[in-house]
Amino acid sequence: MNRIEQRFRELREKRETAFIPYITAGDPSLEQTARIVHALEAAGADVIEFGVPFSDPVGDGQVIQEAAQRALNKGATLRKILALIGAMREKTQVPILLFSYFNPILAYGMEAFARDAAKAGADGVLCVDLPPEEAGEYKAALDANGLCTVFLMAPTSSDERIELIARHCTGFIYYVSRMGVTGERAALAADLGEVLERIHRHTDKPVAVGFGISTPEQAHQVAGLAEGVVVGSALVRLIATLGDVKDMPDKVQAFARELVQAAKGRQSRR
């Protein structure tokens, strides 16, 4: 069974919320990315989102834009990222979700990408700028290779679209908590609980909430409402602030541990 689906199944039995950290692969270097992954796993991460750097990340705020640029400057490519996952699979079974824009996947070739990603040991893909309506060929390729397809759901999604997106998602559904791009926000959306209730009326697939969650307090709040909490920019910013130094992964781990405790310190909604 796919590692992402397996993990959510286990968490459901334990009534625990998934902690899903996002990192930009290749920032500050692919070697450090491997160390950060091990640190996050040791901290208790359930699924790790591997951001594939892209030159024009329209869905991202400044923190992740800059991280992507640094990774590209260091020579990170989708091909090298898959090779890194392949190498890491000798030591870790942590579920990995690739978080990418469509163009690098298209350039790689959808079939070849799905095959190579599965072979390397990735477990799923979230393609930020590909709505399910346009994803026929892409989804078929991923399905055929046993990879989860995660799509974004937004606060503006209608009931009709919630159903459509839910139907296309495997593994889990990614709910964008706030209108806008990735990045830290002072407060969660006031109607978050309400919207998640509405989504859960349409689907029993797990829902993870991301975009704008940056503190243990926020993670704790979300934990009671959803099945997963994604933290991205806060981690990416910490990695950038610490820089390419030896003990950076340890410090990232310490912060991730706080987030894990916050997310797990509360029973999930079911």
Partner: protein, 378 residues
């Protein structure tokens, strides 16, 4: 997606609404100054010694370019949708100025994203926009040009869609933008057909337009797509040479990719990272091209070629001296191709060149490239 379907629905309704269409036509006539003339360029024609050349004078539209056709249409649409704020991206500043103008006219709040590199190159247009009551928001990411301004406008739009309309300036971006912009620009071709019928009593043989995103080209061509006898040529920016980073000729150096919500030809590397571009003209300096152009490129209905910086600058001067018309550097690419093609055609042929914008904005920029000969020596 919500924003796009909301826009698609609103536009479909507006398109069928005669009151909306009449309001738009009224503004186009009394405010923009349409129809723009179809002008027989006699001295230019004599100089080239081939086909008869007509200029479609979009440079005479209010704000000095065809951009106002789309900006005004979209701003009226935004108002109809109950949006109170309009955002736009701009490269050379023409679309930014057009949007700022339409917003001033209609009493809408307006913010325009512009790369800091372009703000420097087009300082005058920055001032014009501010004068019109628009905020110009500098974009310092990536290549600091048009592509990055679009990224930033899209980021703004997804965050503020409930009260904001994104007035995209060309036939690019996600559906329905290419369709909406093409519809608003296709008045150029409809007028041309009527005007040429009046003076020549027939269809043109060749039509030439520059292609950045491709809105002026599709605007001129679209009405003639079904007229098989009419040859259509889109001219891209050849820059200094067709090598990575030195041009913006997507059909010459690009491959199929997806950028900013549209699948089309894109200048990119083998890993799908978007390439840098170069053109003497900021309005053609973009890594992708409208998806409908990609469609017509594939079908063969429209031919695409490119003109270099040097050729465009030569056409810029030639047109000024022979016709007293200073073309925008973008439009100068179309003029440059006409200068190559027209001498090879018979005198009974008719060529239309879309003079998509006027060159006042480019005078300072061009002066750096052109070593003006000292005239009237003795």
């Amino acid at each position: 997606m919500y924003a796009l379907s909301e826009l698609e629905d609103a536009y479909a309704k507006a398109k069928e609404d005669t009151a909306f269409q009449e309001m738009l036509s009224g503004y186009l006539k009394t405010y923009v100054g349409r129809p723009t003339p179809l002008y027989f360029a006699q001295r230019f024609t004599e100089h080239l010694g081939g086909a008869k050349v007509y200029f479609k004078r979009e440079d005479l539209a209010h704000t000095g370019a065809h951009k106002i056709n789309n900006a005004l249409g979209q701003c009226l649409l935004a108002k109809r949708m109950g949006k109170t704020r309009v955002i736009a991206e701009t490269g050379a500043g023409q679309h930014g100025v057009a949007t700022a103008t339409a917003c001033a006219l209609l009493g809408l709040e307006c913010d325009v994203y512009m790369g800091t590199e372009d703000m420097e190159r087009q300082a005058l247009n920055v001032f014009r926009m501010r004068l019109l009551g628009t905020r110009v928001l500098p974009v310092d990411s990536g290549s600091k040009t048009l592509k990055d301004a679009i990224n930033e406008a899209m980021r703004d739009w997804v965050a503020n869609v409930r009260h904001t309309h994104y007035c995209l300036g060309t036939v690019h971006g996600p559906h329905p933008f290419p369709l909406i912009c093409r519809d608003f620009q296709s008045i150029i071709g409809r007028e041309t057909r009527r005007q040429l019928a009046e003076v020549e009593g027939r269809l043109p043989d060749v039509m030439i337009a520059c292609v950045g995103g491709g809105s002026n080209a599709i605007g001129l061509f679209f009405d003639f797509i079904g007229d098989g006898s009419v040859r259509m040529i889109g001219v891209e920016a050849g820059g200094t040479q067709i090598a990575p980073g030195m041009h913006a000729a997507r059909f010459a150096g690009g491959t199929v990719g997806m950028l900013q919500g549209a699948m089309s030809y894109v200048l990119q590397d083998e890993n799908g990272q978007i390439g840098t571009t170069h053109s003497v003209s900021a309005g053609l300096d973009y890594a992708s091209v409208g998806p409908e152009h990609a469609f017509f490129f594939r079908s063969g209905r429209i031919e695409y070629t490119h003109a270099s910086d040097a050729e465009a600058l030569e056409a810029f001067q030639c047109c000024a001296k022979l016709e007293g018309i200073i073309p925008a550097l973008e439009s100068a690419h179309a003029v440059a191709h006409a200068m190559k093609l027209v001498p090879t055609l018979g005198r009974d042929q008719i060529v239309i060149v879309n003079m998509s914008g006027r060159g006042d904005k480019d005078v300072q920029h061009a002066s750096r490239f052109i070593a003006l000969e000292e005239e009237n020596k003795g």
